[in-house]
Symmetry: C2
Subunit: 185 residues, 2 copies
């Protein structure tokens, strides 16, 4: 249900039913299977995505083939290759599904049109992005400050659900350690 999006937006601004209907008309729904790619490195990035259902991961693979996870995205989260999306360049990230998923897609053009026409939505995205910015600062501090164990414990505290849904191999790639190290706790 796209009610999820309405509830999500209304945590920041309230919308009439007509307004929300209008907002929703700018999105398209997409269903993906586990292991399917939402964004493939090298390809243009058309859309940002609000996750209705499922779980995805955004990863960067370096020259030596080592994969690092920039973010997870589950229900009510947004995910895309933001650098490529905002600058309209090709993706450097891969985003794929850890579970069957369902997302609402928003092109940059539609996002900007929506923000122009409904200041409430521009407000929503400004506040949302500010909160995302703060969350990322916390992640940076965590990487600077804490060792593997500390980062693992913090992740458990913040997102205990992830532990149930994601294999440890994958968690390790998010924490920036090898699966062996994580296995030894």
């Amino acid at each position: 249900m796209s009610l999820a999006l309405k509830n999500h937006i209304e945590k920041i601004v309230s919308l009439t039913d007509e307004e929300f209907k209008y907002v929703l008309s700018f999105f398209t729904k997409k269903k993906l299977q586990k292991h399917q790619f939402l964004i493939a490195s090298g390809a243009p990035v058309q859309t940002d995505h609000f996750v209705l259902k499922g779980l995805l991961k955004a990863t960067y693979t370096n020259d030596e083939g080592k994969q690092h996870i920039l973010q997870f995205a589950m229900e009510d989260w947004w995910v895309t290759d933001y650098q490529a999306y905002f600058l309209q360049t090709n993706a450097t990230l891969n985003i794929d599904c850890l579970e069957n998923s369902e997302v609402l897609c928003l092109t940059l053009e539609n996002r900007e049109k929506l923000c122009r026409e409904l200041q409430k939505i521009e407000h929503f995205f400004r506040i949302k992005t500010s909160m995302g910015f703060v969350a990322q600062q916390q992640r940076i501090l965590s990487l600077l400050n804490k060792d593997a164990k500390g980062r693992y414990n913090q992740l458990l505290e913040q997102y205990p659900q992830l532990l149930q849904r994601v294999p440890k191999t994958i968690l390790a790639a998010y924490l920036g350690v090898t699966r062996e190290t994580l296995s030894r706790l």
Copy 2:
């Protein structure tokens, strides 16, 4: 000169002289000496800051007394303890001056008022924050991906000016290595 702020904003939206005059009326100017604190850990965070002149660092000090640098801020950059600013809680960061500095201060109340009254400004902050978000994702990838040398080289490439203005001891705290390691390149 606060022309710097006008030019800065106009990279994203254009403002008439009257509009800019109005915008500027929401800011207050503050001058600081080298070593002076703009934000002190534990105290409330009243304002966000646009740097007119000088150089500052935002740091987090952990339980063992080790200091990590979350960001530098020089001319045309914005800096505050964003978590504390947006959530109106006490600072967990310290922000102090590496050089004599001059900043324009904007309270959260004024920021929100300005955004409400002038959509252009809400647009400006939305875009600005989105770019900041992207820059931080790059920093996270750099911390996950690169070793000390790689991160150092990237910093040199991105901000060669910093090298002239900041002692290596301090750069090390930004890169997440000890000064000894950085000294050995």
